[in-house]
């Protein structure tokens, strides 16, 4: 086998085994897909984190503003 054929074969094998398969970050998150990893309850979806953050933000805002005002007075 000639050298350029070896290189071409190696490239095909590498692509096939996923050696070049890691996609760059920044793709939009698919919110309705199940969460990755083991640390989850059954049926949890990626979008649950965003919903929880919005709910928590609403709950924490009055407290944060009250404490911020207190800190400014000190």
């Amino acid at each position: 086998m000639r050298s350029h054929e070896v290189i071409a074969l190696a490239a095909i094998l590498a692509a096939g085994t996923g050696a070049w398969g890691v996609e760059a970050p920044g793709k939009p998150m698919k919110m309705d897909e199940p969460m990755h990893g083991e640390m989850k309850k059954k049926g949890m979806k990626k979008g649950d984190v965003k919903k929880a953050a919005e709910k928590k933000g609403r709950g924490m805002k009055p407290m944060a503003e009250k404490e911020s005002t207190g800190a400014a007075k000190k």
């Binding site: 970050p25 939009p28 990755h36 990893g37 083991e38 640390m39 989850k40 984190v49 800190a71």
Partner: protein, 252 residues
């Protein structure tokens, strides 16, 4: 960061202590649940009252762990040769979905019991005195890996912005909508770093660009990545996983 001791760590002595406390708590919880089930004639499942009781016990557990926390006890540090390569990516989303934060426009927002709330740009943060540590990241899923992180000692940053260090909690909001919070004693621990580099390179998106709070005394899920805001408070802030029932303190 200078190595002071290798004997004390989250990986050896303290988990035994925590397990012992958790065993006692488990027995207490079991007894409480048994009594509750007998009184109500219900299965202790998703009942709101039972969940509330369990959350109460978990908060008690947090307080016990807080009392046991030794602010001077250091987690082990390792030589460069011990670094895990490649260091695992771990999040609730795929690596390709890690958020891309624009470093040019980025500003760290400060809220709550902090005197100087001016937002911080990345060049300002990078200009602060930096230190490095090679420590073990321990995941609640059961794996661990050793990595090198560099950044500013968090206690120095808190002093610089005039944070009220008598407050109980510091909460974090992240670009991937994740949130968590920590106790003030851990925030002031000498190995708690606000990190901007991993393996001597600017943090790549998969490891938390632009910044990750690194605490070798806590489990991995307590180490927030892609931090966009932090607040100091006396009101329990919880966090994403903590609100799902994971132990809030989760450290040694």
């Amino acid at each position: 960061m200078k190595k002071r001791t290798m004997e004390t760590s989250l990986a050896d002595q303290s988990p035994r202590l925590i397990r012992a406390i958790e065993r006692r708590l488990f027995l207490k919880q079991g007894l409480s649940l048994g009594a509750l089930a007998l009184l109500s004639g219900c299965e202790p499942t998703d009942d709101e009252g039972v969940q509330s009781l369990l959350m109460g016990m978990s908060r008690w557990n947090d307080r016990a762990q807080g009392w046991l926390f030794n602010p001077n006890k250091l987690a082990p540090e390792y030589p460069e040769s011990a670094i895990t390569k490649p260091f695992p990516f771990n999040a609730f989303y795929a690596e390709s979905e890690a958020p891309l934060v624009d470093g040019k426009d980025y500003k760290l927002e400060l809220e709550g019991l902090i005197r100087e709330k001016k937002p911080w740009t990345l060049p300002e943060l990078y200009a602060l005195p930096q230190t490095s540590q090679i420590t073990r990241h321990i995941c609640v899923e059961g794996w661990s890996a050793i990595g090198k992180w560099s950044g500013v000692r968090f206690s120095d940053f808190l002093a610089r912005v005039g944070a009220d260090t008598t407050a109980k909690y510091i909460g974090f909001e992240c670009a991937d909508d994740y949130s968590t919070s920590i106790d003030m004693a851990t925030a002031l621990h000498p190995q708690t770093l606000l990190t901007f580099r991993f393996a001597d390179q600017i943090l790549p998106p998969k490891y938390g660009f632009p910044m990750k709070l690194r605490m070798p005394t806590k489990l991995g899920f307590k180490n927030p990545k892609h931090i966009t805001a932090m607040f100091v408070t006396n009101e329990y802030p919880g966090g994403y996983w903590e609100d799902q029932g994971y132990n809030w303190f989760s450290g040694s």
